[in-house]
């Protein structure tokens, strides 16, 4: 099912209330051409299920992996994603933009 912003935040709450580990990822800054605006959310559970998006699908895999670490240790972190060759060790944005994503656990 397609998720609207409401579904995403309501989904985060419902997942947490059902006892699942949940992390909320939010786009906090963008530079240049970015696929999703500041404030966009991705919600992830401890098993890697997710709702919403922070990019056009380019970096979600990486954010989900990091989010599972955040669920495990509870420490919020900020992730930077740039063009693919600047950050060859991780996925990048082929559109040439840069985004910063804040990931926090729902406690």
């Amino acid at each position: 099912m397609m998720a609207t912003d409401d579904d995403i935040l309501a989904g985060a709450e419902a997942w947490r209330r059902a006892g699942r580990g949940v992390a909320l990822a939010t786009v906090v800054e963008t530079w240049g051409s970015a696929p999703r605006p500041v404030g966009s959310h991705l919600v992830v559970d401890g098993e890697g299920n997710f709702l919403g998006s922070v990019s056009g699908g380019c970096v979600e895999g990486d954010v989900v992996t990091e989010a599972m670490d955040v669920i495990a240790d509870g420490a919020p972190r900020t992730l930077d994603f740039g063009v693919a060759d600047e950050t060859a060790w991780r996925v990048g944005l082929s559109c040439g933009g840069r985004i910063k994503v804040y990931v926090e656990r729902v406690d």
Binding site: D5, P37, V38, G39, Y102, E104, R105
Partner: protein
């Protein structure tokens, strides 16, 4: 984010009230500010600007980087008329993230079989719209072709701050509508806010194509320029 903050935020969203979550990106300190509390907040200026634009962003405050997540109510589309075009428009608008409400007093049209999964109000628009309340995050489209039903809906939309008002019908139909609204006491400049004939000019023929043109126009009104409330301030 603490579950109690998330829970209160979701409650505010469900009640169609704006709210802001402020996060210190270094200390991870976080708080929720309801729209009614913004004015008295130390960050009033930045929070107020966020609520007006609906845009989230990072601000520097006393040497701290604070992320302001602005949560404005979900954009709502009120469709007057449970007609064929509305049957196509409702699921398309829902996919686009709009909160859809269909209003039509004709109970033969306003049936859950014809309109699954959307809010359906089988009542007169003046009564229905007064009850649900129109705000600047609401678009109103009048699609019945029947002045008895469309006019009360347009009347309510013109008195509110709706960011979009559209009415189906030919130029001739609209000219007659303008005369009726003038006679009802609306100013010409206000009546000019009505998009009529409704929809983008894409040569739409079928009900579904007309729905595409209407939805495109609604999205344009939402995204291409600030809402009327932002540019003109409160209405007298």
């Amino acid at each position: 984010m603490r579950l109690d903050i998330l829970s209160r935020l979701n409650a505010e969203r469900a009640a169609r009230r704006a709210a802001v979550v402020v996060t210190d990106l270094a200390t991870h300190e976080q708080r929720l500010i309801l729209a009614a509390e913004v004015e008295a907040d130390p960050l009033a200026e930045a929070l107020g600007a966020g609520l007006r634009s609906g845009k989230s962003g990072t601000v520097q405050h006393e040497g701290r980087a604070l992320f302001i997540a602005v949560q404005v109510p979900p954009v709502r589309l009120v469709v007057i008329g449970a007609v064929h075009v509305s049957q196509a428009l409702a699921p398309m608008a829902k996919l686009a993230g709009l909160d859809v409400t269909i209003v039509d007093p004709r109970t033969a049209f306003a049936t859950p079989e014809r309109f699954p999964d959307v809010t359906l109000l089988p009542e007169w628009p003046d009564a229905a719209l007064a009850r649900i309340g129109l705000d600047r995050f609401t678009a109103v489209t009048a699609l019945t072709h029947d002045p008895k039903i469309d006019d009360p809906g347009l009347d309510a939309a013109l008195r509110a701050e709706c960011f979009y008002i559209g009415a189906l019908g030919s130029r001739k139909t609209h000219a007659a509508r303008v005369s009726r609204l003038l006679a009802a006491g609306h100013a010409e400049a206000d009546i000019a806010r009505i998009h009529a004939p409704i929809g983008l000019d894409i040569g739409a023929v079928s009900p579904a194509e007309i729905a595409v043109s209407v939805l495109g126009q609604v999205v344009g009104a939402l995204r291409r320029k600030p809402t009327r409330a932002e540019t003109a301030g409160p209405r007298p």
